[in-house]
């Protein structure tokens, strides 16, 4: 309990006590109704996959997400051809590592337990901005220009294809993170940033089309579309309080 010396005395203490004057106690009927509604909601949630996943412990939820991420990454890495040896430069590796770190960070934010104080919303916005910034920055570390000159590609069409693939790959990541999110504020934005990063990771690892313009239009745009698009959708569909 708070010690008396901690609390304000004189006038303000008295006024606070007045404000704390007991109001009408909730009636039994009201409590019964509130409990019944809430319990029904809990039972309904328990019967769904979402409810099942969300009620796992935080450790279990994180393990589930990491396992799915790792499985997808390993399958993709070995099933689809990586970029050529000449393109596997230090910036390429640095980009992939950065995307991975940001992805894990996003996963930790989304799966944060609800009994801990919520993270400030600026942190989520910060992560979304850093995610977009990282994908843009990665576009300025393209394959060597000499290789680009030897490639015959139609930049626009290829950028469109990459963007489509990136968006497609990001959807399951977004869905998975939403499934394990117990209702963190801005969880949707963070999941969208993670989806954009996942799409970019795959594109960076496998896309052999070189050029900054291609990467900006086809790769970095994926993160932007996810963050801005899903951000808008979330805002529009958010239940008014």
């Amino acid at each position: 309990m708070t010690s008396a010396s901690d609390r304000p005395d004189d006038g303000i203490g008295e006024r606070l006590r007045e404000l704390d004057a007991p109001d009408a106690p909730p009636t039994d009927d009201r409590m019964d109704r509130m409990f019944a509604d809430m319990k029904a909601e809990c039972d309904k949630s328990d019967r769904t996959v979402t409810g099942f996943l969300r009620s796992r412990s935080t450790m279990a939820r994180r393990l589930i997400v990491l396992t799915v991420f790792a499985a997808l990454a390993v399958i993709g890495w070995f099933v689809f051809p990586l970029v050529g040896d000449e393109a596997r430069t230090a910036p390429w590796t640095a980009s992939l590592v950065t995307f991975c770190i940001l992805l894990v960070l996003a996963m930790f934010m989304v799966t944060r337990p609800v009994h801990l104080p919520a993270l400030p919303s600026w942190l989520s916005m910060c992560l979304a901005c850093v995610a977009i910034g990282a994908t843009v920055l990665a576009a300025f570390w393209p394959h060597p220009a000499a290789q680009a000159a030897t490639q015959d590609h139609t930049g626009g069409a290829m950028a469109g294809a990459c963007m489509g693939v990136g968006l497609l790959l990001g959807v399951p990541v977004y869905a998975l993170l939403r499934l394990v999110d117990r209702g963190n504020a801005m969880g949707s934005l963070v999941a969208a940033a993670a989806a954009g990063l996942a799409g970019n990771f795959v594109l960076k690892a496998h896309c052999s089309v070189p050029g900054t313009s291609h990467e900006l239009l086809g790769h970095a745009s994926v993160a932007l579309v996810f963050v801005v698009g899903l951000g808008l959708v979330h805002r529009v569909t958010q239940k008014p309080s």
Binding site: I12, E18, M31, C42, V114, H115, R182
Partner: protein, 189 residues
């Protein structure tokens, strides 16, 4: 309402443990213990009975979802308070602004209006409005420290900052409240 001594029945933590083990009656008992406290807390913040009820239900819904994170030996009260405060904060973030911004007396919004004498109601209203003028971070501290009578260390845990920062916020909040209500306290009205 703190963790109950064994002589007056099971403690909150024992009830929570029982609930995790599948005892629905324990969940009901926890609801009966905490719902009235949370209702008062949320009503003071939101000044809307319906919304307060919704937040209390959401708090228990989230507690239910997070039950597998509860570790034996942990205290339940900070858990419940943190979940509720997070929900209130989220509500403010969504609505962006407080409904009342002036020091006008508006007794219609006071949920306890019917149960107080007129003078007390008006003074209570003034204080409500003054509380609403505080930044959310300070208001949360006043709520938990004064109204919920939680020690600074626990308040710090609930709002996610250091004890020193909580003490500073409380000091500033009480000073601001005093300043806002100085004429009323002196009886200059």
């Amino acid at each position: 309402m703190a963790t109950r001594p064994p002589s007056s029945g099971p403690t909150d933590e024992q009830l929570m443990d029982a609930y995790i083990d599948g005892d629905d009656a324990a969940f009901r008992a926890l609801f009966e213990r905490y719902a009235p406290i949370l209702l008062r807390l949320t009503r003071r913040h939101l000044r809307d009975d319906e919304l307060a009820e919704e937040i209390v239900q959401q708090t228990f819904f989230r507690l239910h979802g997070a039950r597998n994170d509860f570790r034996r030996g942990s205290k339940l009260r900070p858990w419940v308070m943190t979940i509720a405060m997070n929900l209130v904060r989220e509500h403010w973030r969504r609505t962006k602004r407080r409904k009342m911004t002036s020091l006008e007396v508006d007794t219609r919004a006071a949920p306890e209006a019917d149960f107080m004498p007129l003078e007390l109601r008006q003074r209570s209203e003034l204080l409500h409005v003054a509380l609403e003028k505080l930044p959310t971070s300070q208001r949360e501290v006043v709520e938990l420290h004064w109204f919920q009578e939680r020690p600074y260390a626990e308040v710090a845990k609930i709002v996610g900052t250091s004890e020193g920062a909580v003490r500073v916020r409380a000091h500033r909040a009480y000073a601001t409240l005093k300043q806002l209500l100085v004429s009323e306290i002196r009886g200059d009205e």
